[in-house]
Subunit: 203 residues, 2 copies
């Protein structure tokens, strides 16, 4: 088993934190995105989408998509559960996980690639107006999270879950591209300090 990883990007960090919370240590190989390694014919043969992270299973199969990789480990190493126990918990965690992906992670990424320098020449198409629209959506999403964290210790309730991992990585990505947590979001700031101090956050 091997994880194709990259130290600088948001999605592979989500998997590293997930693994750290479960105490799982597997071999990792760094993919040099800035050198275009994820676009090499060798990498595309493993993952036609060219995305990172990518998990090579012991049976030789490749699994792409951050949450699909996480789900493999949720079921092969169930403790501690990061995707919920009961049907209600699983649904609530998945709801928040997807809300954050759709409205925060994806909006920050779109802003980064379309309205900033992004990945330089590797971002061949840019639509700055669309990028700026997404910046507004990202800030709205932070305010929604702030409301949810009023009365909830973690994003999906009383327990730390994959929704917290997704939110933490999205917020750190946003901060890196100059979309800070708004001043009127004290609960989000409180939660951000708390989850950033977990040992897994450094993974």
């Amino acid at each position: 088993m091997k994880l194709y990883d990259n130290a600088a990007f948001t999605s592979p960090r989500r998997v590293r934190i997930f693994l750290a919370e479960k105490g799982i240590d597997i071999p990792r190989e760094e993919v040099d995105v800035l050198a275009g390694e994820h676009r090499s014919s060798e990498y595309l043969a493993m993952n036609p989408d060219g995305t990172i992270p990518l998990l090579e299973l012991d049976n030789g199969e490749y699994i792409s998509e951050t949450v699909a990789i996480s789900r493999f480990f949720e079921h092969s190493c169930p403790q501690p559960p990061l995707m919920g126990n009961s049907a209600e918990e699983k649904a609530r965690i998945e709801m928040w996980q997807r809300r954050i992906e759709n409205r925060l992670t994806n909006s920050v990424a779109t802003y980064f690639h379309h309205a900033t320098e992004g990945l330089g020449e590797r971002d061949r198409y840019r639509n700055p107006e669309w990028g700026q629209k997404n910046r507004i959506v990202a800030i709205e999403a932070m305010k929604q999270l702030d409301s949810q964290l009023e009365g909830n210790e973690f994003v999906a309730g009383d327990s730390y879950s994959i929704a917290d991992i997704t939110a933490l990585c999205a917020i750190d990505f946003a901060r890196a591209v100059d979309i800070p947590i708004p001043d009127d979001c004290p609960q989000l700031e409180r939660w951000y300090q708390q989850v950033s101090q977990r040992e897994s956050a450094a993974a």
Copy 2:
């Protein structure tokens, strides 16, 4: 328990097919999107995102997000499994499910809202260039699906799964907005005919 539903849109259809495959029948309430009912203060109090479908649980909690709703039923009514049995199967199905959402469903929706008449005055912001870019991504995604279906009866392998539901609904959405299955995709066409004939497809 109650499902807030809409007969014309793609996401609620995904949940209806999922329920039909499991033989689950629950009360449904139609939300009149064209009349703006999903933007009413009453609806937004249940789901601040204003999205449909929305599931009201027996404990009074509301679950939004198509796949979160589906996952609730996958765990409360496990048979037949539509999200996989083993950790490997669950990961493979989730990978395809997300590839299709990211590259096909979302691209078709972006094309619809930005480069066509969309929802008329309800689509307050339009970026036609971005819409057209997404049309190209949608067609590429269909070609990737065609390759995957070469040698696989269903999208994620030998068994019908939520990935087939997501793909069927995305393809029907694409057809409705004049993005047909490309002529050079015989496996996708074969699969499309097959899954369209299941009783659940009419749900």
